[in-house]
């Protein structure tokens, strides 16, 4: 499969802070990637490096086979929608939608118009008079309607309510299905996007913690609940990701179970429940003292 992005031993230091620390991965063409992690884990810095907005301290980045920094040939195939993206203050939304097509060869005006209606965005109001959610919806609309072969969404929906976020997910899936492209979505609302993702990258403290197919990751762990003795007998020497308990009851998170192991568990009177991507990532990144942002 063709790689859209290849990153090798990439690091970015700000003074003594290692925002991105020796990261290597590839991004396959036309898949939806989730870039997940806590606040300050290095997600935004990583995306800025990938789009040539930030300069690497060391390591290499290749987008469509070339280094992205100051490379118009590569960058005109990208669209980067940032958290709280700023717009020229005297702009109105309609000015944004007038200028965006100049920069995106695949821009679809009809799709943009439909999204504008979906999000009920007032086109004539000045940018500075828009609400946080309305500002976010501008970014989401530009990101979707640009149909850039490589689109980055960095926490694109600050201030968007649940209904608007669902519109974003639905339109993204629908349009992605008809016009496959590579999408990298950074978010802390992991549960909401979990089913949209085909591949997951988890970054923690500047390091790449997980680089795995979303489906594999979702089946990676199961919660096993039951009598302490039965749970312990069942888990045996298995790797336990997380352990909890009250009184005689015990709850453990174990790595993926086979069908026969599931039957054994049921036979032993144990209850199995899924571990969501979000729970799994919380457990895997909990070694630090910082609180995971997802709980916010």
């Amino acid at each position: 499969m063709t790689s859209t992005i290849e990153v090798t031993n990439l690091s970015k230091h700000f003074g003594k802070v290692n925002a991105v620390n020796d990261v290597s991965f590839t991004v396959a063409e036309n898949k939806i990637y989730g870039l997940l992690g806590r606040n300050g884990a290095g997600k935004t810095t990583l995306m800025q490096l990938l789009t040539g907005q930030e300069f690497a301290s060391s390591g290499t980045i290749s987008l469509f086979g070339q280094a992205p920094v100051e490379n118009a040939k590569v960058l005109q195939n990208t669209c980067f929608i940032k958290e709280s993206q700023r717009y020229p203050e005297d702009f109105r939304p309609k000015d944004v939608f007038k200028t965006a097509p100049w920069f995106f060869a695949n821009w679809d005006q009809e799709f943009a118009d439909r999204l504008i209606a979906d999000f009920r965005l007032p086109l004539d109001r000045r940018i500075k008079k828009l609400s946080r959610g309305q500002l976010s919806s501008i970014g989401v609309i530009v990101g979707l309607a640009s149909r850039a072969p490589l689109t980055f969404f960095d926490e694109p929906y600050l201030g968007l309510d649940a209904v608007a976020r669902q519109i974003f997910y639905d339109r993204l899936l629908e349009d992605y299905a008809n016009h496959p492209r590579t999408v990298i979505l950074s978010t802390h609302l992991i549960d909401e996007v979990s089913n949209l993702l085909e591949h997951v990258l988890v970054i923690d403290d500047g390091k790449l913690l997980i680089n795995e197919d979303a489906e594999t990751l979702r089946n990676r762990a199961t919660n096993v609940v039951g009598m302490k003795t039965a749970v312990e007998a069942f888990t045996g020497n298995r790797e336990v990701l997380h352990r909890d308990g009250i009184g005689g009851l015990s709850s453990v998170t174990v790595a993926g179970l086979s069908e026969s192991e599931r039957r054994d568990a049921h036979a032993a009177g144990l209850e199995l429940s899924p571990v969501s991507l979000q729970q799994l990532i919380i457990q895997l990144t909990r070694t630090e003292t910082k609180e995971f942002e997802a709980s916010a």
Binding site: L173, A177, N195, E198
Partner: protein, 119 residues
Amino acid sequence: MDDSRPIFAQVAENIENDIISGALPEEGQAPSINEFAAFYRINPATALKGVNVLVDAGILYKKRGIGMFVAAGAQEQLKGARRDSFSSEYVRPLLAEAEKLGIDSAQLTQMIAKEANNS
């Protein structure tokens, strides 16, 4: 889409249910991958994986350039498979629960007969 099994397996099972119920008739056209993806709000790659399970089992077949169709005999094939697993899926858990509560098999048979009459 929220139990502990893989999403693609749940998609496959949902399609099977629609074939068994007749909502998707034999020789009828099945929704496209993209329609499944949009309906279940999942990544199209996951939907494709689910559909491929059924294609591999001969439940669905592809007509080049047109789409996917439900195979003739698919309904009976699926019912047969479900009957085969009925015992392990439903009866054994029932017996296990009954045993936990001290219901013997005679009482259980009686309860089943009673429920069957009521419905």
